[in-house]
């Protein structure tokens, strides 16, 4: 195997694999990326057996061949190289010479035969979706995913197709950690053709790789699902993510049980900054913000015996009700932060009933937050 490749292209290609290759693995080969040189150019393949990535890059191939090398070491080497073109050459004993101008490295590889197979999802039905819209859906739901490893079914985003009353189909993403939830519906294209059955759960680590792929350029992304895998193709890159094999909780029951509350319309920026000022007092032990509505004013107050107190008042002249509820301030900030509108509608319910945050106009995007019981 021998080829020349542009340094910039290679650096970018290796960098994209660093989130996938395992650092803590019992199989040393999973620390490696597979480099495959053939007529079409250079393929860089990475996998941790849950997420797989195949990306094709332009390269000047002298002789064909394939080898796996440590992703981390390759990245460190290429990053420090200053020249434009990097030369790779492998000898018979799986040793690879990486050279560039007067610099040369010699590193051992592991045979490509031992690398887990990553298939490109041939024969699968793909539909095209708008990258930016899909990426936006992820931004608006991902924050609510659980980080608690025990609750596997909450460790990801639930993705399904829903049919609205007028018969129109939309894609829906839902994420929850049990105490808060975020839901967003969008028309990304392709929803007429693709169905996820009872829905799929994209795992947390997969979500960040998907997002990275979607952020690269405006091209549409081709999406297909097969045997527990989500396959996404964009330009010369194929990303495969193993889905979480568990049942997502019955989120509809939560939505259906939401009663009418007291709605307050607030300027998103103002509300967000007010909440952030309250969050200064929060730590792991005390994270509550008390929201008290009385006489057309909304009082925010956050008290932490270890830190101090914060107080603020917002005018809500239209409001005549009296309310007193405590929420986790970080949950509120997360929910308000992702709202894509100048104004947010914050709907409060008295007692231990969830509060909701949604944009005043536009899309169907809803965050639900359970209050704290003090």
């Amino acid at each position: 195997m021998e080829f020349n490749v542009d340094r910039e292209i290679l650096l970018d290609g290796i960098q994209k694999t660093l989130g996938i290759v395992d650092r803590k693995t019992t199989m040393p080969i999973l620390n490696n990326v597979l480099l495959r040189a053939d007529d079409r150019g250079l393929d860089i393949v990475a996998t941790n057996r849950e997420i797989g990535l195949i990306a094709r890059y332009d390269a000047q191939v002298v002789t064909k061949g394939e080898i796996t090398l440590s992703a981390r070491k390759l990245f460190e080497m290429i990053r420090e190289i200053q020249e434009k073109v990097v030369h790779f050459k492998m000898n018979d004993a799986n040793w690879v010479n990486v050279s560039c101008g007067k610099v040369s490295y010699r590193i051992p590889g592991i045979s490509a035969d031992e690398y887990p197979k990553v298939e490109e999802g041939e024969g699968l039905m793909f539909v095209n979706m708008k990258s930016s819209v899909l990426g936006d859906m992820i931004s608006k739901s991902a924050f609510a995913m659980s980080t608690d490893e025990i609750r596997t079914n909450l460790n990801g985003i639930f993705f399904e197709v829903v049919e609205e009353e007028d018969g129109k189909r939309k894609f829906r993403m839902v994420a929850t950690d049990g105490s808060r939830m975020s839901l967003v519906d969008k028309d990304t294209g392709g929803q007429e053709l693709l169905s996820f059955g009872k829905g799929i759960i994209i795992p947390r680590r997969g979500v960040s790789e998907v997002r990275r792929l979607l952020d690269e350029g405006d091209e549409d992304v081709a999406v297909g699902v097969d045997r527990g895998m989500l396959v996404m193709k964009k330009k010369d890159t194929v990303l495969k993510v193993s889905l979480i094999d568990a049942d997502f909780p019955d989120y509809r029951r939560v939505i259906d049980s939401i009663e009418k509350g007291t709605a307050v319309t607030l300027n998103r920026e103002e509300f967000l900054h007010a909440l952030r000022r309250m969050a200064v007092m929060a730590n792991d032990k005390y994270n509550g913000v008390r929201i008290k509505v009385t006489g057309g004013k909304m009082h925010l107050d956050s008290t932490n015996p270890d830190v101090g107190e914060a107080n603020e008042e917002l005018d809500v002249p239209s409001l005549e009700t009296e309310l007193d509820v405590v929420y986790n301030v970080r949950y509120l900030i997360d929910a308000v932060d992702v709202v894509d509108d100048e104004n947010v509608v914050f709907e409060i319910r008295e007692g231990i009933k969830p509060g909701t945050v949604s944009p005043a106009h536009g899309e169907n995007h809803l965050s639900i937050i359970m209050p704290l019981c003090v």
């Binding site: 105490s179 939560v254 009933k353 359970m370 019981c373």
Partner: protein
């Protein structure tokens, strides 16, 4: 052999260690004077020797051996049920006596206390040795129990001293006298040195406490981590561990274990025992306003091997009713039908303050609040009529099939009035009249 001098000053500070002699049996002897000097053990309800009196020890009865073995060794052995209420009463009074001499007293365990006597010579118009002697004499005179007392300049050395002569001993190790006491002392007898450390020390040629204390600092830094280095410094007379008077109020975990008799295979009864332990642990957690996020349950087989399992909760909960399903599933995982079990235990982990409760969207908070109120009431009932007055159906078989205590109930239990709790009964002295 040149003598190492660890401390030039005899009393840079004075730390006293008071250690009850065969504490449980000594308390029994104090309450039942007719038993004094007889071979006596407690632990009748557990089927093993919890504590053996010195007379029994002389006949070869050791702590932890099954009662039938102990009886074979010593046919006239008197077996008593453990009367923990009485022991803790004696314990509290013992600490009270030590507190007359200095306010800085650390209640280390039920029968052990450390006291910092530094600077108290002038107050008591006597030497440290005399104060130590007076502590010991007053405990003996007022409580009728003997204790061994060690006086030295660090906690580790004070403990070496109290162990030096037992029972009823008084050993004083001033700064200059350290080498003399450490010379003959096997290093594994030092407080904090376990079998693993001792084994390691032996490999580097250290067998006695003196050899350990004499190791050069360089060697100690190379071979040991923080605990080892601290013990080394304490042995050399440099006080590292302070006598801490703080009462324990922060818990990393709470555990409750109970051995019952006879051993059983019955899953209903076993689960009842396990659940009761869990309920007990939760009572304690609620008393401190804490709630666990994780739980470990374990079963102890008749051959003393363990089998345990762990589960996490969706949110912290100190209310057994909310998690009984999880506990039952965990029990089903660790229970093996053919085995015979003798004890069960529950450990609450990841304890967090039980306030600012974040309920889940997928549960019914009204129901959860009801459970909370229910347990508030249960705790009030418990305070009035005894722990577990209100308990889960799953732990009820204990009330029906017995708590698994064997032997006679203690005198204290027999004299309890109807409706009186063990805690209330504590305040009453037990008058024991032999006719």
């Amino acid at each position: 052999m040149n003598e190492t001098v660890f401390s030039i000053r005899s009393w840079p500070q004075a730390i006293l260690h008071v250690d009850g002699d065969a504490f449980f049996t000594t308390c029994e002897e104090a309450v039942h004077p007719e038993l004094r000097g007889k071979p006596l053990v407690t632990g009748g309800e557990r089927g093993i020797v919890a504590c053996a009196s010195y007379a029994a020890k002389r006949l070869g009865v050791k702590r932890g051996v099954p009662l039938h073995e102990a009886k074979a060794l010593c046919p006239g052995l008197i077996v008593l049920p453990s009367d923990y209420e009485t022991y803790s009463l004696f314990s509290r009074r013992m600490f009270g006596i030590v507190r007359r001499f200095t306010p800085q007293v650390e209640e280390y365990s039920v029968d052990e206390a450390f006291a910092d006597l530094s600077g108290m010579r002038r107050v008591h118009h006597s030497s440290y040795e005399t104060i130590a002697l007076r502590v010991k004499e007053e405990i003996k005179k007022e409580l009728g129990i003997s204790v061994s007392v060690g006086l030295s300049i660090t906690k580790v050395l004070a403990k070496v001293a109290s162990k030096h002569e037992k029972p009823d001993g008084l050993t004083v190790i001033p700064g200059r006298g350290i080498p003399e006491y450490l010379r003959g002392l096997p290093v594994e007898k030092v407080w904090g040195v376990g079998p693993a450390t001792a084994g390691y020390l032996e490999k580097i040629g250290v067998r006695t406490a003196l050899e350990f204390a004499r190791l050069p600092e360089k060697t100690v830094l190379r071979h040991f981590t923080k605990p080892g280095r601290e013990i080394w410094r304490e042995l050399r007379g440099e006080s590292v561990y302070p006598v801490s008077t703080d009462e324990k109020s922060v818990y990393a975990s709470i555990s409750k274990t109970k051995t019952f008799a006879p051993p059983t295979t019955d899953p209903e009864y076993l689960f009842a025992q396990l659940l009761r332990n869990y309920e007990s642990a939760c009572i304690k957690a609620r008393r401190y306003g804490l709630a666990p996020r994780r739980v470990v349950l374990f079963l102890k087989k008749n051959n003393f091997s363990f089998r345990g399992g762990e589960a996490g909760f969706n949110r912290p909960s100190a209310y057994p009713m909310e998690v009984s399903e999880t506990l039952r599933a965990l029990f089903a995982e660790i229970y093996e039908g053919r085995e015979i079990y003798r004890a069960t235990g529950a450990i609450l982990l990841d304890l967090v303050p039980d306030r600012n409760v974040q309920y889940s969207l997928f549960e019914d908070p009204v129901k959860a609040e009801k459970v909370r109120r229910l347990y508030r009431a249960a705790d009030v009932l418990g305070g009035r009529f005894g722990k577990h007055t209100l308990h889960l159906g799953g732990s009820h078989p204990i009330e029906v099939l017995g708590k698994g205590r064997r032997g006679e109930p203690t005198a204290r239990q027999q004299t309890r009035f109807p409706g009186e709790t063990a805690r209330k009964h504590l305040a009453l002295p037990v008058i024991h009249v032999k006719v």
